[in-house]
Amino acid sequence: MAKMTMVQALNLALQQEMKNDDSVVLLGQDIGADGGVFRVTDSLIDTFGEKRVIDTPLAESAIIGMAVGMAIHGLKPVCEIQFSGFAYQSFHQLENHAARMRWRTQGRLTVPMVMRAPYGGGIRALEHHSESREAYWAHTPGLKTVIPSGPRNARALLVAAIRSPDPIIFYESKALYRAYREEVPEQEEIMEIGKSNIARSGDDVTIITYGAMLQPTLEAADVLAQEGINSEIIDLLTISPLDDSLMVESIKKTGCAVVVHEAPRSFGPGAEIVSRLMEDAFYYLEAPIQRVTGYDIIIPYFSREKDYLPNVRRIVLAAKAALQKI
């Protein structure tokens, strides 16, 4: 096993899947010689050539639209959209076609493609480079939305995404790309899409989160533990379809919950989580579920972004509020 950053782990997943299956091709802007602006596709062009590591013209609708055609033909395209904030140019290709082709052809033509895109704040990037709008995709029937939280699960989920018969939106947190290293086994590892994970067990309060927000949530749990509060942390990993069973079970134990995400609060992913818990665990809830989220504004330019993003302090306070301790 080697210690890897998330970037390296993702690179490993791509490399191994490409080795295993010549129908896997990559396409996107600057993914060839440049290796992607975050280097996730570093040196893959040297191994697999420019027919499989396809530098595209500067056109997002083309990246997704061509991938739809390639997938119909039997390839397994893995698209890189340089930043998730530039995926909107391809929104119609995702909604009108990637998400619908199987359904529109009664299962005859399928679109086993992946759209990888870096998302989220925290790296002092320029505007349009720090958004977290996974809710758009989560609300779109026909897609599945996956957001890993660390190097190891990023690798295992990307393998699953590439092999998935359905189109997958795969959001990668820029803040996590090089945040830390983790043991990632050389041999194949794959995680099931649609399954959440208990990142920490506890029975006082349930905290549900995903992606980059797992880190401050874990830290918050440490702080809470010092005050004798045991948090159970659920790392969603897949946003849609939502694995609500795990959280429902947790609430039955804790009776209260906090949801943490960077996305704007209103009409955000947390709203659906709250609603599922309302529907399936209402009678176990002792207090309103707290949402610790980005505000309903555009994430500010980087001098202020740290005050926009959820942090340990806000999570700790919300957990206490959920426990009616403040």
Binding site: V25, K51, R52, I54, T56, P57, A59, S61, A62, I64, G65, M66, A67, V68, G69, M70, A71, I72, H73, G74, L75, P77, H92, Q93, N96, H97, M101, R102, W103, R104, T105, Q106, G107, R108, L109, T110, P141, G142, K144, S164, P165, D166, G194, P241, L242, D244, S245
Partner: protein, 368 residues
Amino acid sequence: MPRTKIDLPETIDYLSILDEHGNVDQELEPDISESKLRALYRSMLLGRRFDERMVDLQRQGRIGTFPPIKGQEASQIGSIFQLRPTDWFVPAFRETAAEIWRGRSLESILLYYNGYNEGTLLDRDQKDLPLAIPVSSQILHATGLGYAANYRDSGEIVMVYFGDGATSEGDFHEGLNCAAVYQTPVLFICQNNQWAISIPVKKQTHSQTIAQKALAYGMPGIQVDGNDILAVYAATKEAAERARNGGGPTLIECVTYRVMMHTTADDPSRYRSDTEVESWIKKDPLSRFENYLIDKAFLNDSSREKIEQEVRKQIQAAVESAEKQMQDLGAPVDMFKHLYADLPRQLKKQREELRAHLTAAEREVDNG
């Protein structure tokens, strides 16, 4: 060094072979066998008659909104003819004649326009995409298919259809640009039928032709008389051969006319004159081709009538069969089918929710 004219390698040609009256330019006349000519004719006629029947059915409330193709049969049949079963067909939404040529059953078309998802079902191995309603969006799929064909070295080519209006969308641009960059074997067939709903082509673009847009991509482009099946045939043949030989994509503009309304929901009298329509009816692709075949003695009144009868019978049978099929179709819970390879748990729950509702509702009805 000073101000110099840049020489562009490509020029844009115009091609016409069979004129309005059925006179042929013998130097350009393509060499097509009698049986093939007859096959082309039969398909044009079937396209025409089925179209007329669909409009009637819509008027009778027996199908939903339908976009007629009348007047565009030569553009469709003359081009699709070049496609082998192993090649890829990517339609927009007004290619009924081409879809039928490719093997789509009349029944499936009837089901589709009756609001049944089952109407999109084709043979498993048919290399045809379903029709695409979001204008221009399908163009990129063709480019992607062409890329994959090159990647697999399969020798397949791709033919994608779209209208004059479609050329204004960003996806047209991105699709043609990428196709040229990757030299994918794609034939971009623009049926310039002069109108995009109520917008005439001169309000769609300031360029003199659609064909010249190929210059923006360093791609060959040609404009043909789209009501002249021989010209369409010849231009497509040339482009298909080039594509098969690694020569990359071509843009072909077929100048034709949408004789009917945009869809059965549209009222063209709001925005265009009868005289314009009549002037184009004189250029009808079907009668022009008929005259040509008659001149060549490949067709006469009785053989013509025989084909006419066959076609009508085929259509009538399809309508009856489709209407029969529909009686057994439409189980509402089937709406959950085919969205994902495996239905996620939450969706199974929702399907059961719907099923329970339907059963209970039925019970209530049964109980009065």
